[in-house]
């Protein structure tokens, strides 16, 4: 009778399974630990980006300062959204709303675009526009975050009869609510125009409904200037 050859632990069927399980366990454990360790910092980074976008949309100079100062300026000047503002943050001075900061988001060319637009209390003009999350093509669509593009939205008058604003090919602006689009970033600009107009339309509708129901205190005419 022939003797069966001895099979070691590493030759067994269970060894690859146990090996992979152990390796995955260790790797996952380390990653979870690292992720938890940095979670607070990641959250702070997100919050800082958002607060800077709100301040920039409201035309505040604090946005150029260090994170801590920008955070302080945000806490002192900007009031959290309430039901009566239809989701918009408020820049309040001497108990008066000077401007609203309306967060918006929508699908860009590659990924979701998130930003904030500043709107005068009567909703007739923008005070500014800023982004805190986008993944558009670097050098093309991603140029939407650059000042040469966003500065065009400062004190931009909005239309009430048609689209609130229009992104037109550079050099072909014909109306007061037209903005120069970015050459080579047609898809991003088309989608951004749609996102902004839809957000403004929805917000105006919500604010109008609340005003009609007496939920919001009437606000004065826009001064057109934000600190």
């Amino acid at each position: 009778m022939t003797e069966k050859p001895k099979i070691g632990f590493r030759d067994g069927r269970s060894y690859p399974v146990l090996y992979m399980f152990a390796l995955t366990f260790v790797a996952t454990g380390v990653l979870i630990g690292l992720s938890r360790l940095t979670a607070g910092r990641v959250e702070v980074n997100r919050r800082v980006l958002f607060e800077r976008a709100v301040l920039a949309a409201l035309g505040s100079d604090h946005v150029r300062k260090m994170s801590a100062e920008a955070h302080k300026a945000f806490m002192e000047n900007v009031a959290e959204p309430t039901e009566s503002t239809a989701g918009a943050y408020r820049l309040v001075q001497a108990d008066d709303v000077v401007a609203y900061a309306l967060p918006f988001e929508g699908q860009g060319f590659w990924d979701v675009i998130r930003g904030v637009m500043g709107i005068t209390p009567d909703g007739s003009a923008l005070t500014g526009l800023a982004f805190y999350e986008q993944n558009e093509t670097p050098g093309l669509g991603a140029e939407i975050v650059k000042p040469h593009f966003t500065d065009q939205f400062r004190n931009l008058l909005l239309d009430r009869s048609g689209p609130s604003l229009r992104l037109k090919p550079a050099g072909s602006r014909s109306a007061r609510n037209d903005v120069d689009a970015i050459s080579g970033a047609t898809e991003t600009c088309t989608r951004l125009e749609r996102i902004l107009n839809a957000s403004i339309l929805e917000w105006r509708g919500n604010i109008g409904n609340l005003e009609g129901a007496g939920a919001v205190r009437p606000v004065g005419e826009s001064t057109g200037a934000v600190q």
């Binding site: 997100r46 980006l49 093509t137």
Partner: protein
């Protein structure tokens, strides 16, 4: 020759292999997706290259350290797990300490996992060589990849945007230079990559002919 001398020679040979003789981009034609995707801005390219060098070196070393205990039939799963581990570490650190760059690179850091160079070097070197050799091989292959990427990124950003590392360059950012928008679009990357491969392979071919004589 003593052991240290041998190691130095071996490291030198590995450096030459990764940087020139067997360069991942223009000899092995690996990692082309990210080459096309991130090279329209020099800063993004630079950070992507550092991320790849770190991932490639450490994953090659780890795969080599574990090679004797890794069952042959699951080795590619193990390699992918180790590569993914280091890529996620880089991604987490970028999100925590350099959020702007993390946003700029978007999904490309995560895509290092599928970069053929990393798996290619794991299979070709790390599974059969000691950890130090695998580490040096990974490091210089990463550098070879990075060097070619930067050579492609510099003219793309300069001609397409008139800037370098985000700073406006004289003449190219002025009114006399009509920016070549195609250079920052994907077709520009194809043109630049093809030109780089053509130039480097021609130089290599000439040297080989000289050697044959």
């Amino acid at each position: 020759m003593n052991g240290t001398g041998q190691k130095r020679n071996s490291a030198k040979a590995l450096a030459m292999e990764g940087l020139w003789d067997n360069n991942p981009i223009f000899r092995q034609v690996l990692g082309i997706c990210s080459t096309l995707a991130v090279t329209n801005m020099v800063l993004n390219t630079l950070v992507m290259c550092v991320a790849l060098v770190v991932t490639l070196s450490l994953s090659s070393m780890s795969i080599s350290l574990l090679r004797k205990g890794t069952p042959r039939n699951i080795r590619m799963m193990v390699e992918t797990l180790i590569i993914a581990f280091y890529v996620i570490v880089v991604d987490i650190l970028l999100k925590a300490y350099w959020p702007e760059m993390s946003q700029n690179l978007g999904p490309y850091v995560g895509l290092i996992i599928t970069n053929c160079i990393v798996m290619g070097r794991a299979e070709a070197c790390a599974t059969s060589q000691p950890p130090f050799t695998a580490l040096v091989d990974g490091f210089f292959n990463g550098l070879g990849y990075g060097a070619v990427l930067l050579l492609i990124a510099v003219p793309r950003e300069l001609l397409g945007m008139g800037t370098l590392l985000g700073h406006a360059m004289p003449y190219f950012s002025g009114p006399h230079w009509d920016k070549w928008i195609i250079m920052v679009m994907p077709p520009g990357a194809f043109f630049m990559l093809a030109t780089a491969v053509w130039i480097f392979r021609s130089i290599q071919g000439d040297k080989q002919k000289e050697g044959a004589k």
